[in-house]
Subunit: 125 residues, 2 copies
Amino acid sequence: MINIDFEKGGGLVPVVVQDYKTLEVLMVAYMNKESWELTKKTGIAHYWSRSRNSLWKKGESSGNIQEVKEIRIDCDNDTILLKVNQIGGASCHLGYRSCFFRYLKGDELVIDIPKIFNPEEKYGR
Amino acid sequence: MINIDFEKGGGLVPVVVQDYKTLEVLMVAYMNKESWELTKKTGIAHYWSRSRNSLWKKGESSGNIQEVKEIRIDCDNDTILLKVNQIGGASCHLGYRSCFFRYLKGDELVIDIPKIFNPEEKYGR
């Protein structure tokens, strides 16, 4: 049995999302108990959106859902790691493959990850 | 210039720590502004311990420090990704290479990552 410690983070735990093939870290999101149960039940990643304060099926509007290939839990039972198949190839709402599309070079941030889609076209903004 | 958003998380941001060669996710920790500045300045990972409520130079007692090879920042500037060289080969205080040493199989957690050291010997507990 697994008992995720949702209490420590006020009902939410951080979730690291990794590409199941390349092991690239795609994003970090949060889950509450409901999204955790839904993710396990459906095999599709569900999170809790802190900005919208609501359940969030990743890719619901963009079509870029995440098929869960593996679930890992850390030693303290307060962090989840998902290995996923990222449909559409982009996890970032800005159109990049990964939300971590910039690395630190001196004091500057440099983009070194391809943009897969144009968010203005995708979301009509 | 980088401005990490420490405010959103009450002064702390989550940090995903990845092995710079294998890309295995080793752990998730937290940084405040001081540990962030120290990490950049020294090239050695420093965190904020939420349990001890103090600055935490990872590996200070065990010797298993983390040499920072790359720093990445996410699209919202509220999550940090470190690629590190984990000295000693184990990042988890339980002696495993990664804190995510268990995966979910049905409703059970299964260990599939080697134990590098015995924490009772290492920390004298």
